[in-house]
């Protein structure tokens, strides 16, 4: 039943409701696909027994003509979300053996909506990375290869396992998180759809914290509609997260087909980077033409502080991370490496438990927050962050949404860019601004480059206006008509 794993969530949901298929069939097809694609290293933990039990429960509910919005739909969960009684490592050695006694709000909402859990997905350690090579569990491989090439490519990161599993049809959709681009960049690298909603839309409770003022959960799926269905279930106010927005969740699904007629779309001139590959600019031009054809008008806008977004991010994110990661002390959970004194035990545990990129960021964060440097680095970065938000606020006086490329390149080979941290950081150049300003952004596949690799377009919306983001994303999806699949999946 290969066809089952090629269905969209929307199609599968309709087929389940009409009793044309059962969740047990759908789930076992995905468990088989999960086994067959083990070479991608997309999963940290597979939970087949749980999946079968979830499917049986869903089938019983569906038999009564009842069920939630994701009843019987098999999903994967990024290993950053705490799942009760199930290993949760955040891709780190320091969380060895950690089985949370509680469930994250977002994953709990998905189970309430009837979803089936297939397992926990690999990721960059503590979500710090753009290639999924920093995971303690080893790199994830992108199911895509260059035309005629055999080099293994990165799936992007940090939600690399989520994106790879969705692209490989091992899961119908997956949870992910985005601190600087970790949903949108891997989605672009794998020909999938990923949305980071507005900061505060999804509860962060029970998600292992990286940079609390930037982290947001969101879905990766294969269509804009599927991502809307998932985000609908994941969103909503949670008193357990003090930054969760106490606002009603709009009907995202209904917004998808709203169209773009009459919308004004901003094209930020600062995103036309010097030295940007022609294929990226060409795709962007195509996207502009597609939206015009669909009835939108495009306006050139200026976001003058764009070039400072990444350096701001690399002060604020490490600063918050150094504070958040202080909890890994070898006392309460995970790894402990003994030492003669308590301090030595802390130092040994953290030296052995954290990988190179995490150590680098914790040290940078500690430095920029240390006495004498706080004003020069941290406070200055926060002021420039205000200016970045102001750029967007000004722009949204004249436009309804903004169109940009999602990434500055297609997926690169595993091992490339890994010796220069700054070169790796530049992957997030188009995505990081939305995190700093707290805005929703979606990445939608726009086509293939000359090497046959997917490229993505990004739509950034106003705060709490995911509806317009979905509508514009859908217009791009329709025009792009992206039907390509990684070789071997057809």
């Amino acid at each position: 039943m290969a066809a089952l794993t090629h269905m969209t969530i929307a199609e599968a949901r309709a087929a389940l409701k009409a009793k044309k298929i059962s969740s047990a069939e759908l789930t076992s097809a995905h468990l088989k696909a999960m086994e067959e694609t083990r070479g991608l290293n997309a999963f940290v933990t597979e939970t087949p027994e749980r999946a079968k039990a979830d499917a049986a429960r869903a089938d019983a509910v569906l038999a009564k003509g009842e069920g939630g919005s994701l009843e019987g739909i098999p999903l994967g969960i990024k290993d950053l979300f705490c799942t009760e009684g199930i290993l949760t490592t955040a891709g780190s050695h320091i969380l060895d053996g950690f089985k949370p006694p509680y469930e994250s709000t977002v994953s709990a909402k998905l189970w309430q909506a009837g979803a089936v859990m297939l397992g926990k997905l690999n990721m960059d350690e503590f979500a710090m990375g753009s290639s999924n090579i920093t995971s303690h569990h080893g790199p994830v491989k992108n199911p895509w290869r260059k035309k005629g090439g055999n080099a293994e490519l990165v799936p992007g990161g940090s939600s690399g396992g989520s994106a790879a599993a969705v692209a490989a049809r091992a899961v119908m959709g997956a949870t992910a998180t985005d601190t600087g681009g970790s949903i949108r960049q891997p989605a672009a690298f794998t020909g999938t759809v990923g949305i980071k909603p507005t900061y505060g839309r999804c509860s962060r409770w029970g998600i292992v914290a990286f940079a609390s003022s930037l982290d947001q959960a969101g879905p990766i799926a294969r269509t804009v509609l599927d991502s809307a269905i998932m985000l609908q279930a994941m969103s909503g106010y949670d008193p357990k997260d003090s930054t969760s927005a106490n606002l009603p969740v709009p009907n995202f699904e209904a917004a998808v087909e709203r169209g773009v007629k009459g919308l004004k779309i901003g094209i930020p001139k600062e995103y036309r980077l010097d030295g940007a590959p022609k294929e990226i600019i060409d795709l962007w031009e195509k996207g502009i033409a597609w939206l015009k054809d669909a009835g939108a008008t495009t306006v050139e806008i200026s976001l003058p502080h764009t070039k400072y977004a990444l350096p701001v991010y690399y002060v604020i994110a490490p600063a918050e991370a150094s504070s958040n990661l202080a909890r890994y002390d070898g006392v309460r959970f995970g790894l402990r490496v003994p030492g003669k004194t308590l301090d030595e035990m802390y130092e040994n545990t953290r030296a052995a438990g954290f990988g190179a990129e995490v150590k680098r960021r914790v040290l940078i964060g500690t430095y920029v927050l240390s006495a004498g440097y706080y004003d020069a680095y941290y406070l200055r970065a926060q002021r420039v962050r205000s200016l970045i938000l102001r750029d967007f606020t000004e722009a949204y006086r004249q436009v309804d949404a903004i169109l940009t490329p999602a990434t500055p390149s297609a997926a690169f080979a595993i091992g490339e860019k890994s010796d220069d941290p700054v070169a790796m950081y530049l992957n997030d150049v188009f995505t990081v601004t939305a995190n700093l300003a707290g805005l929703p952004g979606i990445s939608v596949p726009g086509g293939l480059n000359a090497d046959g690799l997917p490229l993505g377009l990004q739509v950034i919306g106003r705060a709490f206006d995911e509806e317009t983001v979905f509508a514009v994303g859908r217009a791009l999806e329709k025009a792009a008509n992206f039907t390509a699949m990684p070789e071997g999946l057809r």
């Binding site: 949370p100 006694p101 008193p239 927005a245 002060v315 940078i364 240390s370 205000s386």
Partner: protein, 95 residues
Amino acid sequence: MSLDKDTVRKVATLARIKVPDADLDNMAKELSGVLGWIEQLNEVDVTGVEPMTSVAKMKLTMRADDVTDGGDAETVTQNAPEGAHGFFVVPKVVE
């Protein structure tokens, strides 16, 4: 800004991460590279600009000061590398 070995050693101690002496030079080079790149922020005129301390304009909500959770030491300590009787066990701190 370039960091020297001693600064890296000090920061590593603050962060409670053991960095072997042999690695300090390389670490100093890497961190200096990143910090040097960050320093382009000095070009920006931030006179009179408030630091952004909250992403969404929202007030933190108040709640009644009631005990609503807790009393479950076994669950809290179940993931500890070493625990006993509902307590975390650490190396001896007081001689």
